[in-house]
Symmetry: C2
Subunit: 159 residues, 2 copies
């Protein structure tokens, strides 16, 4: 990997994490996702979770980012795009990433309880998965993981 | 099951199938989905696939129906609702159905290649699945299956 690639990865994952902090401030589960067009490093979409604000349990950052990126490109396939997300995608989002034909998936923290890539149903390894992105994980994982822990700790405090 | 329940099931699955026929006419993969409020049998949402028309590979009938039902009820959980869909949901939709806390899932045809309930990652049996609906399948399965076969046959003809 070149230094430029590494710089870009830090930049985009940093943005996903910034969005996760914003989500925290808005009382949303702190997750952020960014979709980038590879050829010119253009950001097509960047979202935090909006489950509470949209009153929708499926308004995950990744779903919103995919929906928007397809809209701006007028294309149902994001074949030359990468996704950066601060948490391991759940099975719903992992399958959506596969349908979208995302090329590289970068995620920060692992999600042992509800993740669907390394954990649970391991969507990309299933016979029903017809496109598997390249998966890279761990970058900024500790920071993202700490943010999630802080969020759920603060929730328990006020219960 | 009472006769009234059986009549309702036929009515709602019939509507899901009608939507699938509409999808076929619009050159969409023929799948339809309906969400019903149990207490008064009110239809909250009814959609056909719109992947082509919305240029979105995640615009499955089930996702559109869940999104709309959450919007009209102003609730991110559809705990007293049932879903009728003409084809076994894929892993993305199955996980969304779980997040939505749908009570009963009725589907017509099985999808051995891309399904996520009885096939593939069997989402509801996974450790990452925290709500499992009651699953009922097979009703009007032959008709739905034939419609899908006709659709893909017509696609091959013009390739």
């Amino acid at each position: 990997m070149s230094n430029v690639d590494q710089d870009n990865n830090n930049l985009f994952m940093g943005l996903a994490l910034e969005l996760a902090y914003t989500a925290f401030d808005n009382d949303e589960v702190p997750v952020g996702a960014v979709i980038v067009q590879r050829r010119n490093s253009e950001i097509l979409s960047a979202f935090a979770n909006q489950m509470r604000s949209l009153k929708s349990s499926i308004a995950h950052a990744e779903m919103l980012a995919i929906q928007k990126a397809m809209k701006v490109t007028h294309n149902e396939r994001l074949i030359e795009c990468d996704m950066y997300v601060s948490l391991e995608p759940c099975p719903m989002c992992a399958q959506a990433i596969s349908f979208a034909r995302i090329k590289n998936l970068y995620f920060a923290a692992e999600d042992e309880k509800s993740g669907g890539v390394l954990n649970g149903p391991k969507i990309f390894d299933s016979t029903s998965c017809h496109h598997k992105p390249q998966v890279h994980h761990g970058m900024m994982g500790k920071e993202s993981s700490q943010l999630l822990k802080d969020f759920f700790k603060s929730k328990r405090k006020y219960k």
